[in-house]
Amino acid sequence: MMIRLALTDDQLLFRRGMALLLRDMAGVQVVLDCANGEELLAGLKNESVDIVLLDLQMPVMDGVETMQRVRKDFPDVKVIVLSSHDEEQYILHLMELGANGYLLKDTEPDVIDTAIRSVAQSGYYFSDALNKLDLHGLVKKRKLTPTFNDIDPLSERELDVLRGICKEFTTAEIAEKIFISPRTVDFHRNNLLLKTGARNAAGLVVYAMSKGLFAP
């Protein structure tokens, strides 16, 4: 399935540069190219879009207001914020407002590719930088609503490993607590990633929280 993107950034150079980078990505198509939030909202009325790559600092209508309007008027459209700000509080605030992902503007194309596919499939993307943020709080407040496909049920052992990951235990610590080898923990962790569609430990935590499998 083709993932249809809208690029929204007031910088022509960045927009065109990003379009050039995205041109190479299989299954991804830029269908809207907008200089501000107002242009985006007008475009979304006529064009079917899966994901918006959204800058924050724009004239006419900035990224924060745009995201709120997209959330309200086009709830099926997902938003990945592209920003130069890497302060944790800033990122958290945007995630609380409903961003499905957050990328820095100098992110490598491979990571952008991963983020787009992750948001299309699971409804969210967390970079490594976001792993340490307050994901628990976001899920608890229901600000983050990932979607997971129907999956095979998790085994008791996988649930043990998942709870260990949620408690931020290391592989060695999980292994020691449930009396299996670190290698077996890794095996179960890989199964968890495969079954849930999560891309990393942060995704597994979100999964566990949203399914009521773990409460901090």
Binding site: Q11, L13, F14, R16, G17, L20, D24, Q57, K105
Partner: protein, 115 residues
């Protein structure tokens, strides 16, 4: 021998050695960035640090994708100096950035002409 002002392997990696897209990107950079440097120059002339920082904010990701590490260093230095009480160092760093940008422009034009 001094380091080259840009590391072209960065663009080659980003665009998977697609010469057409590299050329398109360089052309775009050469067309669009003078406006940012103009903003920086005007901001420096009027001691408007906000204006300088806004332009740097937009320029920085492009310097990263371009493979211009020294430009990145200068962008960060100017940002830091904007909040320090050393206007002379601030102005000197801006002058160095503008001069460096000219060297990059020469290198990129040479690259375009070589293709």
């Amino acid at each position: 021998m001094s380091d080259p002002v840009i590391d072209l392997t960065t663009l080659c990696r980003l665009f998977k050695n697609d010469r057409n897209r590299i050329q398109e990107w360089i052309t775009l950079y050469l067309a669009e960035t003078p406006a940012y440097f103009q903003q920086i120059m005007e901001g420096a002339a009027t001691n408007d640090a906000e204006q300088v920082l806004r332009a740097l904010h937009d320029l920085r990701p492009m310097a990263h994708y371009l493979g211009a590490p020294h430009m990145l260093v200068l962008c960060d230095a100017i940002k830091e100096l904007s909040s320090a009480s050393d206007p002379q160092a601030f102005q000197e760093s801006i002058a160095e950035l503008l001069s460096h940008a000219q060297s990059i422009e020469v290198a990129l034009n040479a690259e375009l002409n070589n293709r």
